[in-house]
Amino acid sequence: MSGRTFRESDTVDFVIVGSGAAGGVVARELAQRGLTVVVLEQGPRIAPQARMHDELKDWYLGGITNDVVKNPQTFRNAADKDAELQKFKPALWYGRAVGGGSLHYTANFWRLHEIDFVERSALGAIPGTGFADWPITYADLEPYYTKVEWEIGVSGLAGASPFDPPRTRPYPMPPLPVKSSGVLFERGARKLGLHPFPAPMAINSQPYRGRASCVHCGFCHGLPCEVLAKASTLTTVIPEAEATGRCEVRAESYVCRIEVSKQGRVTGVSYFDRERRERLQRARAVVVSANGAETPRLLLMSASSQFPDGLANSSGLVGKYLMFNCVSRAVGVFEHELNEYKSVQVTRVLHDFYDSDPKRGFYGGGGLDARLGPQPTTWAIRTATEGPAWGSAFKERLKEFPRTMQVAAHCTSLAVESNNITLDPNLKDAWGLPAIRVTYKDHPDDLSTARFLQDRGAEVLEAAGALRVTKAPVTEQTSSVHLLGTCRMGNQPKTSVIDRFHRSHDVPNLFICDGSSLVTSGRGQPTMTIQALAFRAGEHIAAFARRGEI
């Protein structure tokens, strides 16, 4: 399974920090183009087949994610407040195993639309925000979206949504079978003149590239797929990278510092191995794909006399413009059983409200989808927040599990400088490194968008014949799995951290590619775009290496 191993005295072409959605893809792209690669991953390498539907472990005990004991974080909603230790659930959640977030994601794989890349030009500036155009367009990224669909494996129906951006190829697999939530969503949405379509999912609807098709077990959300039908980098691009004989994935290797020469060039990385011994891996260049939380943290921890504010941080924007994607949901209870706990989360989506509309009076847009959401334990915890929390009435509500669905809204988040990641000045993690301190407060327009879309979702449920529709209060977020924007891409070194090819403006042989690269938040479901960026970045970085430009 694992390919070649390198010695620390070897100077490899690339060290990649992180083996998740982006790191795994970049590793394969570089290794297949003849370059030597060491991937360092904080977490262990697990065999997904040996896992079971352990909601407690994977949702509440950090089974494959960061956990609150070893990787503590603090949270506050404004810089003048004290940041509080998060004792039960981390503020920022990310995969911490080989495969990273691609192990536990839901695998909704929408592409961004053309407007996402040029929205600032279309709508104008939004005061108090860092709302900006991307330095690339949808057309630049289209070939790589197609690559994700075919190389990673996405099920869907091309042309089913009238709002879909142009594409050069259909999906490689048909959509997954519709669920009752999807049928009801379709029924309600069509009555309202809306345009539901089969959800694009990175889950096999039929056997694909050596991986089995989905058995509809219902435990995609937050857990790794035991039958490998849900694509993760662990089971797709990483084995392909290793098969080249030029890539080593080193698990339980926790990078603590990027090393820099007197000339201001990266020379390798220092990391803690499994026994917490500090080690050094030398490399000609480094790619940081550690996610939108850990990437800026590592750059800030790599401050030196040459780079006193953190590596690649002459703009001061490393860690800033954190975006979560705002969310909301409307819940509907129906007469008959839907049994939403079976199969994949989402089978129908609609994008009628994707674009921002100045007539609404606020910036923002999003997508709606049909799903249950929580598995049994989280169902109970959530139900308690939306009605009687204990006693006989609570027990009765719990029994509505098979007859309930929700319309979830996935919305824009504006880039706001005061939403950010910094190093906590007091708290350390289990390795003695500074903990992540999160400062986050949803922009008022983000909350307005979430409420607007929640109302549209409630209308869909009513039109579908729900017996009862409820709207959970839309409140400011204190936790997220979408970690975006913290090392943004741009043409100007003063207003961005990396250039259009993911090279850091300040350090010529340091590249960054993951959720931190995003300039705007899109409308949720960022992994598809992160992987398209990674395929594109991998191709360009390999070309730089071949031309001696690293």
Binding site: R211, A380, I381, S392, K395
Partner: protein, 200 residues
């Protein structure tokens, strides 16, 4: 146990189905093994405390039984939630344990102030318990007990709660590893996306 047997049987059917269609079925032997081990482990239904004292456990169990009461169907008590909580505080939620013990002492002092002769919370009538809990259901003690009760009621039985899958049976969650369409009432006879668009 019937549910465990059913589970294994369904799993084997699923394996057979995947073997028939996949070009390279991966890892099913390990999945089957893990499930077998999990079900074997939870068959024991042990009723022994390792971290909580008997008096603490009695109070917690009575509170849990008010959170998910026993009526015509089993509740938190039958699910063995208190044994889950005992294990949680002693092991995987040990970071909560010392605070929780102190919160429990405050709760105990509270009901003893009102009913000085009570031997335990459990010895009060259900009406007395409910009346008391309504006054404290936003305190840290109740919030933590509530969370742990729900986790213990609905999570995998290997952790000591959800005995005989009573939590899952309560909410109609089927403990089966693979499903095939139709999944529910509304997706039966679905004509297909294109056709359904035409029908309206």
């Amino acid at each position: 146990m019937d549910s465990a047997n059913l589970s294994r049987r369904s799993l084997l059917q699923a394996i057979a189905a995947v073997m028939a269609t996949a070009t390279a079925p991966v890892g099913w032997a390990q999945v089957a093994l893990a499930f077998d081990q999990a079900h074997a482990a939870h068959g024991s239904g042990e009723r022994r405390l390792s971290w909580l004292k008997e008096t603490e456990a009695a109070d917690i169990e009575a509170v849990a039984a008010q959170i998910i009461p026993t009526d015509d169907s089993p509740g938190a008590q039958e699910a063995g939630v208190v044994y889950f909580i005992d294990r949680a505080l002693g092991t995987f939620f040990s970071q909560l344990a010392s605070d929780y013990r102190a919160q429990l002492a405050v709760f105990r002092a509270g009901y003893l102030a009102r009913y000085p002769t009570a031997r335990s919370f459990a010895s009060l009538t259900s009406e007395q318990q409910v009346e008391l809990l309504k006054r404290v259901d936003h305190t840290p003690f109740f919030t933590t007990t509530h969370l742990l009760t729900l986790l213990g009621m609905f999570t995998l039985p290997v952790y000591g709660g959800n005995r005989d899958n009573v939590g899952w049976k309560l909410i109609g969650f089927e403990d089966t590893h693979a499903f095939y369409p139709p999944f529910g009432y509304y997706d039966r006879d679905y004509p297909g996306f294109i056709e359904s668009a035409r029908i309206k």
